[in-house]
Amino acid sequence: MNHVRRFLVVVTLLLLTRSLRADESPRFVEDVQPLLEAKCVSCHGPEKQEGGLRLDSFAAAKAGGESGPAIVSGDVAKSLLVKAITFRDPDLQMPPKQKLTDKEIATLTQWVKAGAAWPEPVAVLFEDEPQFLASLTSGNGKGRLVTEGIFAGKAALGITPLQRDGVKIPGWQFVIREKPQPGEYRFLRLAWKKRGAGSVMVELASNGQWPDAKVAKGRYVAGPNTTGWAAISVSETAPADWTVVTFDLWKDIGNFTLTGIAPTCDRGEEAFFDAIILGPSIASLDAYRPGRTELLGTESQATGDAFTDKRNPIRKLFRGERLDLWSLKKPRSSTLRVESAATNKKLDSESRATASIDTFIRERLTKAGLQPSPEADRRTLIRRLTIDLTGLLPTADDVQAFVADKSPDAYDKLVNRLLESPRYGERQARLWLDVVRYADTNGYERDEFRPLAWQYRDYVIRSFNQDKPFDQFIREQLAGDELLSAERGRESFSRASTDQSTKASDGHEKKTPAPLTPTTPAEADMLIATGFLRLGQWDSTASIFQEEVRLRAEMMADLTNTTASAFLGLTMSCCQCHDHKYDPLSQADHYRMRAFFAGITPRDDLAISLADEQAAIDQHNAELDQQAAPLKAEQAKLDKANKTRHEELKAKVAEIESKKRQPRRAMGATDSGSTAPATHVFYQGDFSSPRDEVLPGFPSVFTSGPAVIQPPHSNTTGRRLALANWMASADNPWTARVIVNRIWQQHFGTGLVATPNDFGYSGAQPTHPELLDWLAVEFTQRGWSIKELHRLIVKSATYRRRSTGGSPVSELQASRLHYGTQNIRRLDAETLRDSLLAVSGLLKPFDTGKPLWPAVPDELLNAQPAILEAIEGKDGGRMQGWYADPIEQTDVRSVFLVRKRCLPIPFLQAFDLPDTTVSCARRDTTVVAPQALMLLNSPEGVRYAQAFADRVQGTQANLSFDDATQTGKLIDAIFQQALQRRPTTDEVSLAIELLRRHRDQHAIKEAADRAVKLALADLCRAVLNLNEFAYID
């Protein structure tokens, strides 16, 4: 055997190495890099490059920024980094807000002095990861993870003869080069030892192939080689104790792509391997400290929260920083002096509560030297309140009645009436549907219709109208199926007879147990609520190209991110590929949350017929079966030659079968069983590079251990219910604050936190933290009632203030920022359309059911080739098309119109309809010319104006506009209906002028009565386009 000895570095390493360096200069990986990451990289790194400087690579730091090189190796005086951190120069002091500690300054200074060694990153192939072992899928030896007598970290690999091997390990595409570029490598280092006689070997696969048995390229052996495979010999004897070896793969093998490995042991007892690392240089390997992966936060041993327990991984990861994030602390209600607006008499609790809001607001105003605006007039109030609570304008009669109501509780009565209106739930639901990115179609290439999605939409409407406690609302959406069983006790998981193989609309074939049959509408709603888990996009064509794994990974990420945004105001999407840049969340935290959803399987077959209804269906179907039974029996016995009778029987059976009734079904999700597939941290977020396995867990900052999970029955994991219960708790620091902030935003245009989906460092700080906390506590104490929360806010003097007038502009603007003056707000897309429909008299009552499809121009259908496929009838019944309903049926509130991902309804889209890919926390209100074109010129805009004119004209015939009194009445009616006020004298004369001139102009081409109608519609069109119509004071 030809033993080739080339460039080999063999280092026998004592286990003591790590503790040998008490007085050495600072080391990069352990001392310097964490410091740079914690203190510098957030402003000088991939996200931001203040002053053009980055401090996340040596090349960038050396190149420096606008002021020059940040680091000059060995030269402290020339290194701007050192200058900045020492605060010697008043113009260059970093970090700007807080000087580093003396120790930290010394660390960085000494490091620069010692040459600023900055090793390139290494690739850790194995430290402690069980999935590494799992990826060695073949070989006649056995492998295990051992935790005793290991080299570093928590586990080592034990291999019995002959080997475990993986020739193409998922995610392994390591390019080996002489001069590695970033992401490429050259050296391999590992620690090994062998118990008893025999040798230890490692075999490396190149481009998916094992090396030729006869050539010593790609195999390294220590000890006498009895395998018969040529190998480079590292030492004559096998290592009896842990020995670190380093191989120059490029010198020994050449340029290649490392795709697999086989830890090998020729005979006798086990061989052990640990800390297998790839690096671009020896220096990079030297800089790596084995055992670092524990920082990922995947240890099974739970720690306390990061505030109190030093072992908490978040504390380690961020060096104790980032824990002062305001939203991590539980909301606390501060005591305050509540002032009584009118008298000093004792306030009842209700008045006290609303007065509390005003006290918090007034405190800030006073500090800013601002006076609050007075209360708005009654017309303004009812318009504002009706739009905010119901998404519709009040009628002229509503306004008149309220203005005329002199009773002291007139406003309270109005609030109650609006909160009890079914329109309230429709409005509230629309805003929630934004947050959960609701749509009626799958998205992507085919964008198929989801025929059952609307049940979730109606569930949301019902829930708000019933004022379902918000904590219950959370539990139902995340885990309604598990909740149903939990609430009914540990019943068996329903009737096996309904277990069936079904195909969900997203193409999933599955055989899963059915949940319990609901006995009440409330129980049925729990199942419908799980539709939440299905609202994301779904690419049904992924399977055609074997992209299901990617798709499932995307779905899980999307669900995790949406859940975190919607309920917690956490940006979990930011820690999918790396630890969070701002907030105390590790990459593992993203996957720990993802693991709560790991068990789910999409379902389109959740039976929601109530138990008695189901019983009736069963009985009905059983009777039919009885009728069919004798026919079937005859069929079975029949002589095959008797074709006529055979056909006759077949038809009869078919006829009977067709009478069978199906239970009502919902689109949702359940777990596929009591266990869930493992969740792995994905290296850099890449689904094809799974690393450490994680268990479901809440953000590690609170506890690093896995969540305690109690499955409510034997066919589900119980994971989602555990997550829901943690969220729906007054102890959760985010949940109540997040929803309270959303409702506040609804009434003022901005939230107390201006970024409702981001309560982290990169989001906005609360402008009124005490008020936010007070509202959050009040909200949970009042039983998580959303209606109570609305009541609290809209009754406050703060809500009722004027939006303009009185003060100088600059003061008003300052006052608006401090809630001393209300904001002027544009109607959003749906509110605008719904108000147009209502004012023009077109609005059709509709409060539940399948979505309606308004017609859209053909050329917009062409925008999506899949729609054309459907139009030609070539979509295989997948419902990829656009299914326009008759125009008069579609004049319903916009929440009931179809939301097709690839083709938003143009009229709504023009007015800033949000995208349905990710959660939308706040509607844009841009002002652009296409909106003007839409409202002025589109068939919809023209039609609304025409209908409005017809409504105003009523039964009056022979209009002419010559009669000023009659014309004045018409104008008055137009203003009353659209703006709920009378026109001024100037407006009347302008309007009369318009009517007469337009009448004359239309009369050139049209008959006289038609010219009059057109002129009246012109005036209506002008009024519906007014700023006063589109904006609420």
Partner: protein, 480 residues
Amino acid sequence: MLNGTRRDFLTRSGGGFASVALSALLAEELRGATPNPATMDPLQPLAERVSHFAPKAKQVIFLFQYGGPSTFDLLDYKPELLKLHGKPVPESFKKNPDKVGGVFNHCKDELMAGPWKWAQHGESGQWVSELLPHTAKHIDELCQVRSMFSESSNHAPATYLMNTGAILGGKPSLGSWVTYGLGSLNQNLPGYVLLYKVGGLGGSANWSNAFLPAAFQGTQFRHEGSPVLNLQPPSELVGVQRSTLDFAQALNRKHAAERPGVLDLDGRIASYELAYRMQSAALDIGELSLETKETQDAYALHDSNNSKALFGRMCLLSRRLVEKGVRFVQLYNAVDKLGWDGHDNNTDYHNRNAAQTDQPIAALLADLKKRGLLDTTLVIWAGEFGRTPMMQGNNGRNHNPYGFTIWLAGGGVRAGNVIGSTDDIGLRAAEQPQSAKNLHATILTALGLNPDDLFFEHAGRQERLTGVAQSWKTIPGVLG
């Protein structure tokens, strides 16, 4: 750019104009961070903005090739494939595991060469297939990138990737980013215009502004009839449009005067005037009859092949749009839902699509050049992916995300250059594989935009077309 301080902008904005930008600014204000570089005047979101550095090109025409053209049947000459026609795929091409979907699954183990003849053209002597006789005349002006790859072998994700930089959809499109960064050169027209008979799979998400302000959304320009949907009211109302508007504006001005400092209200008054001006500006663009007979014929406007004539109209419209200062024009080549997607009969699909697009595209290049517009207009020809050299069915080719050719021409592009290559059978990018991200970075750089500095604060992150800072490289050799 907006005059005055950021504080002015914040306070003048009142009740939520461009509220996403505003809240992002407000959030930054509270943190004391630097302003977003693309702060815009809410009254004039399309006002021209200064680029980060001197641009090589000012405007863009993106000729999107829907369906996935088989680029080794068009531009990427593969003599080895001609030799291996009818033979099984050599084992050496099968060994690499494919990360995205498997290209071999729906194909036969049989290589298929196209039936077209190849010849060398231009001074550079580059090979072009006989499918593109007109483009061949311009071959020395094109810069070809022959080593593009995609991250999905499905139409919608791959089309999203090419247009928005992400396979998921829901992100702003290239055209939106460009107009957000630079504004436009004509305030009476949309800054980002789309021309299509049939769009791309995935629908309007391909030209969505997503979280960028709505002013940067792609506006469809129609190739016949009124150029922009709802540009005008029904005919009987055209004559009274101005006085209807005058009435509304008189009341609007009074309403705004009673609410001083609420910029939205002024903004909306201005938007109605812009809409009115757009009517005449856009109608002018659509007047193709004003072009000479020679020009009309060059673009094949009167060709007996209706599809070709239609595509010719779109090409001519795009030149007129660019001439009038529209920043970004995107064309979709397809006239039906099939495009280049030749699963069942690659030969037919490619004969048809090449015949429809070749002459008009060549005419566009010639016309831009003649008018001196090519120097400042970046023209891009790209589909979402390429096709397999393996046979699907009896004469088809399947999707292939692993290697395909695109080309660029005009503003700042190194004419005649060829970058990268595919392997001998055109299956995978071999030398210098290039991602959509690198292509986007190259386009932005040509326009004087630094991809890392073109960002928008959204949901707690600085979002960019090109993702994480410095995760891209401009494609070497494209820009002169």
